[in-house]
């Protein structure tokens, strides 16, 4: 439950600030948070703002709060957080390099049955286009909690994409998480899998399947798409015959990985969402399968490539 992990961590930050008689951290939401933000609203009404259904103003107000010294968390569904108020995100927050944390829910296909208007399949490319913006793409609730600790004193704009109701992966490397650093989740010397967001779960399952065939798979998680940890990916890709990228977005991760290893003699295989609108409704698992993004489908594809 990434949303709940976010809300719980934020509540802890606000509680602690109150004990220390500080008043810095604000939550401003675009009329969302039913069954998630009630404790914040009740315990910290002075630091909670419902901006209502007016996202451009929400982002502008958050910039104003940050200019006045506040640490601001803004929460909405990704298209309404990033696309509707794009220019406010670009000019007011990123141009001024303000410590505003844009927390978007519904990453990738999380709202698969809500239709293309709610599906931010291109969010990573859109966010990547804006200078100064740090992009976080955690894979599970525990990673969200870790990031919330790191964000407490982070001085720059951040976009963090949450999915929806995912359980923890329990990869055991949570304490090694650092913003801007790739996270090695398992070692191997033949194939490198680079994953981001909730696709890390499929990446780990895929690695197990390939290992059973004697594949020896290394898995690197990119939880920070920007700044991108080029050196770590370059050194991980050294000597691998195949590099695989897995993302629930339209190729932002692949572009970065492919461009960082142009000097290395290995095949690169891209698993991503297609560059197209989604015209069908259904569960996320159904759509992921349709786009070939389940561990099983990816395994078959890799077998074809390395055969």
């Amino acid at each position: 439950m990434m949303r709940k992990a976010f809300a719980k961590s934020l509540l802890e930050i606000m509680d602690l600030e109150r004990e220390n008689k500080k008043n810095d951290t604000y939550l401003i939401t675009g009329d969302l948070g039913f069954s998630v933000f009630e404790p914040i609203k009740e315990r910290h009404p002075d630091k909670f703002i419902n901006a209502g259904i007016s996202e451009q103003n929400m982002i502008g107000v958050s910039a104003g709060l940050a200019l006045a010294g506040k640490k601001v968390f803004v929460y909405s569904i990704i298209p309404f957080l990033l696309y509707r108020p794009f220019e406010q995100v670009r000019n007011d927050i990123c141009y001024h390099n303000l410590p505003v944390r844009l927390i978007g829910v519904g990453a990738g296909l999380a709202y698969s049955d809500a239709g293309s208007t709610h599906l931010p399949f291109e969010d990573l490319k859109v966010a990547d286009a804006i200078p100064n913006l740090t992009i976080l793409s955690p894979s599970d609730p525990k990673e969200v909690e870790m990031f919330m600790k790191h964000l407490e004193d982070f001085k720059k704009p951040v976009y963090m994409r949450l999915a929806k109701n995912e359980p923890n992966i329990e990869h055991g490397k949570y304490s090694s998480i650092k913003i801007g650093k790739a996270l090695r989740l398992r070692d191997g010397d033949k194939i490198l899998i680079v994953s981001t967001g909730i696709m890390t779960r499929a990446a780990m399952a895929l690695a197990d399947m390939l290992d059973n065939d004697g594949g020896s798979v290394e898995v690197m998680e990119i939880h920070t798409l920007k700044p991108f940890d080029y050196p770590a990916i370059v050194s991980a890709a050294e000597g691998k015959s195949l590099v695989v990228t897995i993302e629930d977005s339209t190729g932002a991760l692949f572009d970065k990985v492919a461009s960082s290893i142009t000097g290395i003699d290995s095949k690169v295989l891209k698993f991503s969402l297609p560059d197209e609108f989604v015209h069908i409704s259904g569960s996320r698992d159904y759509l992921l399968d349709r786009y070939g993004l389940t561990a099983e489908k990816m395994y078959e594809k890799i077998k074809e490539v390395i055969a």
Partner: protein, 259 residues
């Protein structure tokens, strides 16, 4: 209520003449556009920065195309230094046709319309929730009241009753390619309906400007300032060309003669 200092009003008028001339020359030399909008809001900027605002107050220029008018005021106040000011219009200058990030005295870089009211609302809200002193002043163009984001901010301020926010509309009756499409009456109605106090002033009369800032108000305040595009040079006044064309040498002479 503070006494109106007549001497002070005279000084402000003298300052207004000085900075008008300064702006005509700057625009003539740099060939930067928007002299008309500079001259329509200059008196409001002077009153705010030399008479009204104190250390606890903050100012947001939402109509970023009047950057040069603000630079002239900030330069006169020694916030922008001579070297920086002299660089205006030259390659490598830190002063843009619209404000750039990092310029002394510029709260937020604007230029795209419809951003300033939200940002000012955020600053004011922070002040109020922290129980800090001071007000936040924001200068809007009449044209930018067409922006949906301005209307979003208008409603946000009304809903949250942000009383420390004072918005001034430079009502010069022009936008980039037309008379204002959303007229002054409609702007006043919209803001009043959203819970603002709406008052009107002559935006070129210092006594009128200062009096309205001194008055007590119950809630967010919108000051509709009646102004004239290109104010001060007859051949530029109330003409769309002065939104684009920099003043000629002849127009600078015309200004001198009219004094």
């Amino acid at each position: 209520m503070r006494d109106l200092k007549m001497k002070s009003a005279d000084e402000l008028k003298a300052l207004s003449k000085e900075l008008r001339k300064d702006l005509l020359i700057k625009h003539n030399e740099s060939k930067i556009a928007h002299i008309g909008s500079d001259l329509s809001c200059l008196d409001i900027l002077i009153a705010l920065h030399f008479e009204i605002m104190g250390d606890d107050d903050r100012f947001v220029l939402s109509k970023g195309h009047s950057a040069l008018a603000l630079y002239s005021v900030l330069h006169k106040k020694r916030i922008i230094d001579d070297n920086t000011y002299d660089s205006l219009g030259k390659d490598g200058s830190r002063l843009g046709e619209h404000p750039l990030y990092g310029t002394e005295g510029i709260e937020i870089a604007t230029g795209s319309l419809g951003h300033g009211l939200s940002v000012a609302a955020g600053i004011a809200l922070s002040k109020e929730r922290n129980k800090e002193k001071g007000k936040v002043y924001v200068l809007l163009s009449d044209g930018e009241c067409q922006e949906g984001s301005t209307l979003e901010a208008m409603n946000f301020v009304g809903i949250n009753k942000i009383k420390s926010l004072i918005a001034i509309v430079d009502s010069n009756k022009w936008q980039a390619f037309d008379r204002t499409l959303l007229g002054e009456e409609r702007i006043k109605e919209e803001f009043a309906a959203a819970g603002w106090n709406v008052v009107e002033i002559d935006g070129h009369d210092y006594e009128s400007i200062i009096r309205v800032f001194e008055a007590k108000n119950e809630g967010p305040l919108l000051i509709v300032a009646h102004t004239v595009l290109g104010k001060g040079v007859k051949s530029m006044e109330d003409r769309l060309e002065s939104h684009y064309r920099p003043p000629t040498k002849e127009q600078i002479e015309e200004f001198d003669e009219e004094l």
